[in-house]
């Protein structure tokens, strides 16, 4: 049998149900693994060991007495949480000094859902500060290393969530994705990462970065696990007005006997550009061949406005961030400067001392594009180009069931290697368009660059078609076999 910390959700559930392992044993195995390996990897910011063990003991009591209820699909299974999702009584720093010492007064809806399903919230995961970054290097607290090569980044912004899954420091984790923050680190750390459609999962209690883009999603060791976890996360929430009352399909059922036979997979020609790393290209082409061999029909499609997606994103996301981050003013919570002698200085200095350089850069950028005289030229225009990008996807999905593309232009790069902001931003070249269109997308492990560095392949499906997305992903995963 494999070690307990190597398990995915499905295997852990099976052991718990057969009483071959207890939730307490699972949690203790993860704590021991964390103590042995996380010094090198650095995925976790904090881990409430006592709280996790107590929650596990409660789950074990239920399992020993009445057994799990139909609702308790994750009973006793521990999950790591990205450090911008509120869990009552735990820290929530967003990897920023401005929230050092903050203790969440309430549970985010996704956490409430996890707890209702019996899950144990075990550990807070490092991230790029306020989810701004593609390498987790903008964290104010620590460096997270790629578990497959410690000299490299885990990706970001959900780098801790990805490194924990890829490094077997967690059974599964929650990440968030605004422009690629689940998918790119999933690709770098060999895990499954799903960015749900805009509105599929509640953001109540999730620190906002760019509110027209942010989504919470699962980061797991298999597509089956992603289906189990997404089932618990998805659905309408009256605390988040962007979650429509669209029924949530049974995702585990949707992927049963998944096949690519007769599935029409679109290949957007704009995604196969110069500058794509040779190994990424080779692995993506191999994944396309795997799909063809498994019966998929490959159709070339065009998303003509792709070349404008980065520009639209780097106007829209900072604009929204500059508004969302206005709440960090040193008044009600978070860091307050001791150098303030007026309310104005209290704002400007608390923010100056609390925010890191990338966050400041985006606040300046966002404030600029929203400022009088520039609004129409940048923000107003970007929203219109966003419509054209969205229409590109609508047109493509008129012809195909899903799209297949690379996730990131390269495998994991070296820590400290990328210094120029725009070069860092280009990591999200292939993930941003789907975010702007609001559709769902996943990164599925596809191979190893140079036999060593993980590389994922991206599937993209229409809005609220997570069942299709997971079905295609599962069928690919089966056809691909063990990596």
């Amino acid at each position: 049998m494999s070690e307990l910390y190597e398990l995915g959700i499905k295997e852990a559930k099976a052991l718990l149900d057969k009483r071959e392992a207890s939730s307490e044993e699972l949690v203790r195995a993860l704590i021991a693994r964390k103590n042995a390996a996380d010094g090198e990897i650095g995925a976790y910011l904090t881990f409430d060991e006592e709280g996790a063990i107590n929650a596990a003991l409660e789950a074990d009591t239920i399992l020993a007495q009445e057994g799990r209820t139909a609702e308790q699909t994750l009973l006793g299974v521990p999950f790591g949480i990205k450090d911008l999702i509120n869990v009552a009584g735990q820290p929530c720093t967003c990897s920023s000094k401005i929230l050092e010492g903050y203790v969440s007064p309430y549970d985010a809806t996704v956490v409430k859902n996890l707890k209702a399903a019996g899950a144990v919230c075990a550990g807070r995961l490092n991230m790029d500060q306020f989810a701004m970054g593609s390498s987790t290097e903008t964290s104010a607290f620590k460096t997270t290393h790629n578990p497959y090569d410690l000299s490299r980044v885990p990706g970001g912004s959900s780098g801790g969530s990805a490194a924990a899954v890829g490094g077997n420091l967690a059974i599964a984790t929650l990440g968030t994705d605004t422009g690629g923050s689940i998918r790119q680190p999933a690709s770098f750390c060999n895990c499954v990462g799903v960015k749900p459609s805009y509105g599929r999962v509640s953001r109540f209690g999730v620190t906002a970065f760019a509110s027209s883009l942010d989504q919470v999603g699962p980061m797991t060791k298999s597509v089956e696990d992603a289906a189990l976890l997404l089932q618990v996360l998805a659905g309408h929430d009256e605390m988040d007005g962007t979650t429509p009352k669209i029924a949530v399909p049974d995702y585990s059922k949707a992927i049963e006997g998944a096949s690519l036979k007769g599935v029409r997979l679109g290949l957007p020609k704009e995604y196969f550009v110069d500058g794509l790393d040779g190994e990424v290209k080779r692995i993506t082409e191999a994944a396309i061949k795997t799909c063809t061999d498994a019966g998929a029909e490959i159709v070339e499609v065009s998303l003509p406005h792709t070349e404008y997606a980065m520009a639209v994103y780097y106007i829209v996301a900072p604009a929204e961030a500059s508004a969302n981050l206005a709440r960090f003013d040193g008044v009600r919570y978070g860091h307050r400067s001791t150098r303030s002698d007026s309310v104005f200085n209290l704002y400007t200095r608390s923010r100056a001392e609390g925010f890191g350089p990338e966050v400041k850069r985006r606040i300046i950028m966002g404030t600029y594009v929203l400022s009088s005289g520039y609004y129409d030229a940048y923000y107003g225009r970007a929203l219109k180009v966003r419509t054209l990008i969205k229409r590109d996807f609508d047109n493509a999905f008129g012809k195909v069931d899903a799209l297949i593309t690379p996730v990131a232009p390269t495998p994991a790069f070296k820590l400290g290697e990328v210094q120029d902001p725009v070069t860092m931003y280009l990591n999200d070249l292939f993930t941003i368009p789907a975010s702007l269109a609001g559709v769902c997308a996943a990164s599925i492990p596809a191979g190893f660059a140079g036999g060593k560095l993980p590389v994922g392949v991206q599937f993209i499906a229409p809005g609220f078609a997570e069942d299709t997305l997971l079905k295609v992903s599962k069928a690919y995963e089966d056809a691909r076999g063990v990596l």
Binding site: Y198, T242, I315, G330, I364, T367, K384, T387, L436
Partner: protein
């Protein structure tokens, strides 16, 4: 496009209520002009008659009954306050000449 973008970083920082050091101002000035020059690419696109997209889907409003519901307990809401006095957040004096 050309590098003709000029940004008054000090002014923008003031709008954003963010104090910047001189080094940060100089660095952001340079980086920001590069980024703005880069995103100005959207000016190439013909957007005549195209409506804006604000969100990832078409839903507009979400209403519920306007009824009083319990809100967060006061102690919880104040628990993270950097400074408090009784049941209130404590702040520096705002109005000139007033008692602090």
């Amino acid at each position: 496009m050309g590098n003709d973008v000029k940004i008054d970083v000090a002014y923008v920082a003031e709008l954003a209520r963010l104090e910047l050091t001189d080094e940060e101002k100089a660095l952001f000035q340079k980086q920001m002009e590069g980024i703005v020059d880069w995103v100005a690419k959207i000016k190439e696109v013909d957007v005549e008659g195209v409506p804006p997209t604000m969100h990832g889907h078409e839903e507009v409003n979400a209403f519920r009954e306007d009824e009083v519901r319990p809100s967060m307990e006061r102690e919880l809401a104040l628990a993270n306050a950097p400074a408090r006095t009784g049941d209130e957040f404590k702040l520096p004096k705002i109005v000139e000449g007033a008692e602090s």
